[in-house]
Every structure is written in structure tokens, then in C-alpha cells.
């Protein structure tokens, strides 16, 4: 009886939990933005244009639109609107980054540790960013699953941050980081780029065998299913194309290696290269295989595999017909991605729309959410960023940012302190005595900067001492 009661209450609470998370609708707003210069990205720039947002979506785009009663009107004369910026590589809004305990950790996911209290989310909004692909770190050849989130800062329910419908993705990492963490740090594979390839192929093969055994059991060809493995379940989903691989990579040779592996397993359509400092060297090969690439704008030299770099990487990739994006991988850079994109006009000759596409429609395509975001079009989500000037100008100051039509950043009215969790009895947040870092690269010397780099969660001192 007691047992039955317990199980009943368990089910009841489960049902309650599910219903609350499903029934509590995410906020959607209505607004009329009038008389703006609208950078649609996909359909050119429209002068003196109005955007009518109803229930979180762009209902219409044109001149002389009128606001239905009760809908807020924003006069955007002399202001510029661009699509909410999308960061294809971020580590904000999560409590942990790296499960740096094994070379393959497909069984974990950062979506389980979303942290709505991270003020970095607000700061990203204050730079016009509305969507972030929050990634597991780069300690492991096959890391954990990532989570695409909308920056609904102010909402305290982590579940509401998930970009509903966004394809599942997983982090892979090649080169120095997994080699340092596991080969140098633990004395296990991978210690070389050969080892990295082996670890990935081996994991894929194990997942194939696992899937075969499951299928055999289902067909009655096998008396028992294989022992349950979350890791192999996830990897099976990778192999069936349900989970997109996002691979941290620096050198051209390691990218070619993984491109071969990916092709061998038939995953060309569910594969994105990340960081990819030397992608420009093999642009024709990447283009031929149809692989999208997300790169740093101008970071380089912070480790050896990032030394043979060119800030012209994005421009070369675009000119070779590759869907390229610029990402932040930083709690600082995610606040001015429009400015990072602008530099593609110094290091290359991209048009305004091409430059803007690097942080809007192209990352949307890479994340499989381009039917919803990444451009200003009727029917798309009203994720919009309002600027004081052309967003590619260094003088542009973000004024307001909308997510699903809801104002999530307003320069004119937001208070200075935007933390959501302030304990009046507690210590004042310490200002770090060290230099203010303009960035935090994913190597040990800088990873302690602001705790958002790829190597966050790895015991840095341990690795420094193993060198």
C-alpha cells in the first residue's frame, strides 16, 4: 500500500512537473518599431521601415504600419535594426563546462546545468545577442552535448531558455586540448592527433556495434539487449544523424582527418567545424564536402595550433562558398559580435550583408534554426537588436534587444546592477585584482580570466605542472 502510494505520488509529481514545464508559456511580446533602417540580411536593407510584432513573431514589415490597440510603439527614427545576433560557440549560462574525466563523455550535456542567474546572459543581450549555442568544453575528443538557448534573461526557469525545436548537438575536440588533458595529464589516449582519430573512430564503431545488437534483439536475433549505455545511446543518435557534431579544431590536417571520418560514417550533413583557425588553407576541400565553419574573427597566437592564423579566415571561407560564421567563445566577445563581424571588412572585402550574415543567418543555418531566426522576415521570431548607428560601425551602440518580441535589454531604462540573485547579507562580488582580461582563450593561462573559456573546469594548475 505504502509502495503504491509512493509510486502514485511519484507519478503525480512527475505529471505536475511535466505540465508546469510544458504549460508555462514562454513570454511573447507585441511591439511596433517605426521608421527604422532595417537590415534584413537576407533581403537587403530597408529604409524608413516599420516592423509589427504580434505574439513574438514578425507579423509584417513595411511602411506606415499602424499599431493595434495596446501595442507599444517605438520610434526608431535614425536607428538601425538587425536580426538578433546568434553566437554559434559560447559557454555562458551554464554552471559547468567540462566533464574532463574521460576522452569520450557523450553521456553528459550542458543542457542539464543551465544557469539563468548568469549575468553574462544579460551582458550578451546588451550587445544585441539573442541566441547562443552553449557548448561543452574542449577537454575531450568527444565531449558532452551542447544546448542552443534563447537569452530570455529575467526568466528564472532554466527550461525556458532552451530553443525549442533546435536540433541536438554534441561537442568534439581535436588537437592540443584533449591531447594535453588526457595524454599529458592522465597518460591515456589521446596524446597525439593519431590518438584523437582513434578515440573517435573507436567510439563510433562501439556505437555501431551497440546499435546492431539492439536491432538484433528487437528482431529476435539476440536473446538479450546489450547492457544499457547512455554514452552509446547518444553516439548512436550521432551516427543516425539525430545529433549534429560541432568539432573544435585548429589545424588543417586534423580537420581533414575528421572530415574523412565524418564522410566514412555518412555524417556530412550533420557536421560543423568550430574555431578552425586554419580552415582557410583547405577551403576548397571544406566547400567540396559542404561543411559549414564557425571561426574566431581575429584571435590567434594563444597556443601553437593557433599560430598559423589569418584574420582573413572568414572572408576566404565566404569567398569559397562556405557557410561561415563568427563566434565568440567568450563572455566578452559575445557582447560585441556586430563589431567582430565588422572586422571582416578590414580583413577581407565582404559586403555589409555578408558581414552581418556571419553573426545572423549563417550561424542560424549551422544550428538548424534558420527557419525561425537569423534574418528579419515576416513569420520569423521577433528576435531583434536596435542600434544607434549602422551595426558595422565602431560607434554603434546597442539600444534595445528583443527576444520573441519581449524587451530583454533597454539601455535607457535598465538599472546598473542586473544580477538576478543578490544576497544583501552576503559578500559583495569581489573585483578581481588582476588585469581586466579582454578575452579568455581556451588555454590554461587565460582560462581563469572570466571562467567562460573552453577549458573551464579543467584543473589548470595540474596541467601546468605536467608540462
Amino acid at each position: 500500500m505504502l509502495l503504491r502510494f509512493l509510486s502514485f505520488s511519484c507519478i503525480l509529481s512527475l505529471v505536475l512537473l511535466l505540465s508546469t514545464s510544458l504549460l508555462v508559456a514562454q513570454d511573447r511580446g507585441d511591439v511596433l518599431i517605426q521608421n527604422a533602417t532595417v537590415h534584413t540580411v537576407t533581403n537587403g536593407t530597408l529604409e524608413n521601415t516599420d516592423i509589427l510584432v504580434r505574439d513574438g513573431r514578425i507579423e509584417s514589415l513595411g511602411a506606415g504600419l499602424s499599431a493595434p490597440s495596446g501595442v507599444r510603439v517605438i520610434d526608431a527614427t535614425d536607428l538601425h535594426v538587425m536580426p538578433g545576433i546568434i553566437d554559434a560557440h559560447s559557454h555562458i549560462g551554464i554552471s559547468n563546462v567540462n566533464e574532463a574525466t574521460r576522452p569520450v563523455t557523450a553521456d553528459v550535456g550542458v543542457g542539464d546545468v543551465l544557469n539563468p542567474y548568469d549575468v553574462s546572459i544579460y551582458r550578451a543581450l546588451a550587445g544585441g545577442t539573442t541566441t547562443a549555442h552553449v557548448m561543452h568544453g574542449s577537454a575531450n575528443a568527444i565531449g558532452g552535448r551542447n544546448q542552443t538557448i534563447k537569452l530570455r534573461y529575467g526568466d528564472l526557469n532554466p527550461e525556458h531558455y532552451r530553443f525549442d525545436g533546435a536540433p541536438r548537438t554534441i561537442k568534439f575536440a581535436l588537437g592540443e586540448n584533449p591531447m594535453r588533458v588526457h595524454g599529458q595529464g592522465q597518460g591515456i589516449k589521446p596524446r597525439t592527433r593519431m590518438g584523437v582519430e582513434f578515440v573517435i573512430r573507436d567510439a563510433f564503431r562501439q556505437a555501431q556495434v551497440y546499435a546492431e545488437q539492439k536491432a538484433a534483439y528487437a528482431n529476435g536475433d539476440r536473446p538479450t539487449p546489450p547492457p544499457y549505455s547512455e554514452r552509446l545511446e547518444v553516439l548512436s543518435d550521432v551516427l543516425s544523424g539525430d545529433i549534429v557534431v560541432h568539432a573544435h579544431s585548429y589545424r588543417a590536417d586534423e580537420m581533414l582527418m575528421l572530415m574523412q571520418v565524418i564522410d566514412d560514417f555518412g555524417l556530412n550533413d550533420t557536421f560543423v567545424l568550430q574555431h578552425s583557425i586554419e580552415a582557410f588553407k583547405i577551403a576548397p576541400e571544406i566547400a567540396a564536402q559542404g561543411i559549414p565553419v564557425s571561426v574566431f574573427m581575429d584571435w590567434w597566437g594563444f597556443k601553437f595550433e593557433a599560430y598559423n592564423a589569418a584574420a582573413h579566415n572568414a572572408a576566404i571561407l565566404i569567398r569559397n562558398g562556405i557557410t561561415a560564421s563568427i563566434h565568440s567563445d567568450s563572455g566578452d566577445l559575445i557582447r560585441h559580435m556586430y563589431h567582430q563581424a565588422a572586422k571582416s571588412q578590414r580583413y577581407g572585402d565582404l559586403t555589409d550583408d555578408e558581414a552581418l550574415s556571419l553573426v545572423t543567418i549563417n550561424p542560424a543555418i549551422q544550428l538548424g534554426i534558420d527557419d525561425r531566426v537569423g534574418s528579419i522576415e515576416e513569420g520569423k521570431d521577433a528576435d531583434l537588436a536596435l542600434f544607434s548607428a549602422h551595426p558595422l560601425s565602431v560607434y554603434a551602440v546597442p539600444q534595445m534587444t528583443f527576444v520573441d518580441g519581449v524587451v530583454r535589454f533597454d539601455r535607457a531604462t535598465d538599472p546598473d546592477d542586473m544580477r538576478l540573485q543578490v544576497n544583501p547579507e552576503g559578500d559583495v562580488a569581489p573585483a578581481y585584482a588582476g588585469e581586466t582580461h579582454s578575452h579568455s582563450h581556451d588555454h590554461p593561462h587565460d582560462a581563469h580570466g572570466h571562467g567562460v573559456g573552453c577549458m573551464e573546469g579543467v584543473n589548470l594548475f595540474e596541467f601546468l605542472s605536467t608540462k
Partner: protein
Amino acid sequence: MSFLLSVLLAAGLLFGTPVDATATDDRGPFAITNAELVTVANGTISNGTLIIENGRITALGTDVTIPEGATVIDAEGKSVYPGMIDSGTRLGVTEVGSISLTQDFNEVGALNPQLDILTAVHPNSRLIPVNRVAGITTVITEPSGGRISGTAALINLHGYTPEQMHVGGAELMTVNYPSTGRGGWWDRRSDEEIEREAQEAIDELNLVWDRAAQYAQIDSAHTADPQAHEAPSYVPEMEAMLPVVRGGMPVMIRVNRSADIRSALEWIADRELEQVVLSGVSEGWRVADLIAEAGVPVLAGPVIATPSRSSDRYDRAYENAALMHEAGVTVALRTGEDANVRNLPFNAGFAVAYGMPYEDALRAVTLTPAEIFGVADELGSLEEGKQASLFIADGDPFEPATAVTHLFINGYQIPMESEQSRLYEEFLDRQPGATLHPQE
């Protein structure tokens, strides 16, 4: 460092690095014509001509005679600016961030006034051409670590020896001011421990200064009358402090937290330091009036950075330079960078976007630092007699889309090339194109 990395490093540095294109030995004369001359010191001259001879600006204006045999650069539609100065970098003293054996800015020991950054400046660092083509001709390159890190130096970003690069003899003794703050999330000390250690560090700094003053007294007495007074027994750290306590060498104090800035200003007043600047100063906006009152200039930045506290308004780092400037502080800008010193103009642009008047931001990367470092007779503006360290741009150099088209450093015309621009040329339209990879 692992054997693997050593091998990679050796392979890359010995065989992989092409020699960077060098300036020609042609030192002019050059005549830049039809240009807008943004002098910084004396307004802007439209449709002007600027003459470079023997490394110097010998004439500029609208009524200038072009010397015979001059190479004429028609700058129609373009502007000439004095070369930008970054007031805090590690250019030349680091090559690869994660490989400590390529880094020369952080020596063992807490008190190292005897170390000179010029010893370690690598004139052929690949980082130098990559950054100077943004129009940055001159930087402070600085040591860090410990309490006294050694001397920082002002260097031109062209030259084959540190001596050739060093400008106007400008060197600054670099002091890391003791912090009462936590080093970061890994710092597990109690508040009491932090306070006690900070006070001990300040006491230690005072001890160094007191001893150096004594050392200087003994040394002066000996110099005046070698028969009557023995020379001080040799202490390398004290020898190095002589120009500091005698007032010949300025002190650069690296400090960021507002409480520490406050404490540093008191310390400066107590020690009656006159030649002194603050560097970093990320929370300067909190105590801007105090800094202004003390009359101590600041080398502020990076501008493009996150605020120092999670409770701070999101744009404090952007505004910091503007707020200090508005309070009357003399502000020069620094990136604190190495690989991306080229972002200096964008840091200046952000300072403007968040409130600093354009002319003052331009000054903060040209004439103001030249004045702070005592080289305003050589650098920082387009004026007759100054070093020809300048660049030509097709627009506002703070705007990303602007192209810098010509660069002169100390009169040498510098090729607008770097390892990165060469990679761009080679790989934009790579031949041969795609291999059949992967094999179908």
C-alpha cells in the same frame, strides 16, 4: 614543456616562419600630396602636402615645395595621421601564448627592478608586422609579475635590434601595486589574510624605496668624494633603483581596483613621487575625481572588456576612459594585448561610442601618450621636425572598414604586409583547388 611541444615549436619557428618583408633603405624624400593632414597638435589641414626627409617630417601644409627627387604618394581622398601609440602591450616579448619558453615578460622573483624588457624584445616577432599594419607605429612593451617587474620601454615597431626600436630613451619602472582584492575564483584566502598580505606588500615596497634612497645617498657621497666615502656595497636591485629615486626614471604603477587606486594615490603622495603613471585602472571611473586631483596620468584599458564586478553596469569598461577624461584625468589608451594590439583603434572607437570626444580619443592614442612618456618632441603629432611615424588611411582609422594604405615608422616606409596578409593572398583563391577528398 613537453618534448612534443618543443619539437613543434622548433619546427615552426626554424622552418615555418618566413622572413617578414622589410622596409627599403629608401629614406626619401617622400611627398604625400592632396591629403587631409590630421595633425592632432594643430587641427586638420585639407588638401595638404607632407614632406618626409631623413626620417623626419620636414614640412607640411598647403603651400609646400616638393623636394627634387621625392617619391610622390598621391593621397587624394585619404587622410594622414600620426602613428598610433599603444600604452601597454607585450609585443616582442611573447610569441605563443601557451608556450612559456616563448615568453619573456615574467621573471622569477618579486623584486626585479634590474631587469630591462629591452633585453628580451625580439625584433623579428611575427606579431609585430601583423599589428603595425593597423597604423600602430609605437608601443609600450612591458614586463609583469612580482612586485617590481623591471623596466617597460617605448619601442617603434620597426628595427632590427631593440636599440633601433627603442624611442627617445623612454623607460618606466613597472610596479604591481599590492592588491587588497582576491586574485580570482581560485584565491581561497580569508579577508583578513588578504588585508594583512596587502599591507605587508606595501611595507615591502616602502622598504625598497627607503633602502634605494639610502643607497643613492651613499652612492652620491662616494661620487662627490671617493676618498672620504666608500662606495655602497653592490646590490643589483638598488643600482637599478637609482634613476627612480633620483627622479630620472618614471614609475608605471599597474593597478585596477578602486580601493587599490586610492591606496596607490596615497602611496604616491607619501613617497612624493612626481614622475608616475597608473596603468590598467579598470575601476578608475569610481575614483576619477581623486585621480584628477592627484594629477597622475593614466594608461587605461583595455576599453573593450567586461566590467570588473558582476554588479557593475554592463558598459563600465567601455565608459571608463570617457568618465576619467570627463573628470579631468589625462588619459592614454592601452590594449594590454600582444597578438591583437591591432585592436587599439577599435578600443579608441569604443571609448568614443561610450562618451569620449573623438579628438580626445585620437589624442589618447597619439599625442597624449607621447607627452606622458616624454617624447612629444619626437612623436604623437604631425609637426615639422618630428619623427616620420605616420600612416595614410582611406577613412576614419577607428572604423573597421577603413583601410590603412601606407605606413612610415621613423621615416622608413613599411610594407603593408604581414604573415597574415600573405596567407590571405595565397589562400583566397588557392591553386590547385579542391583535391578529391574525401575519396568517394
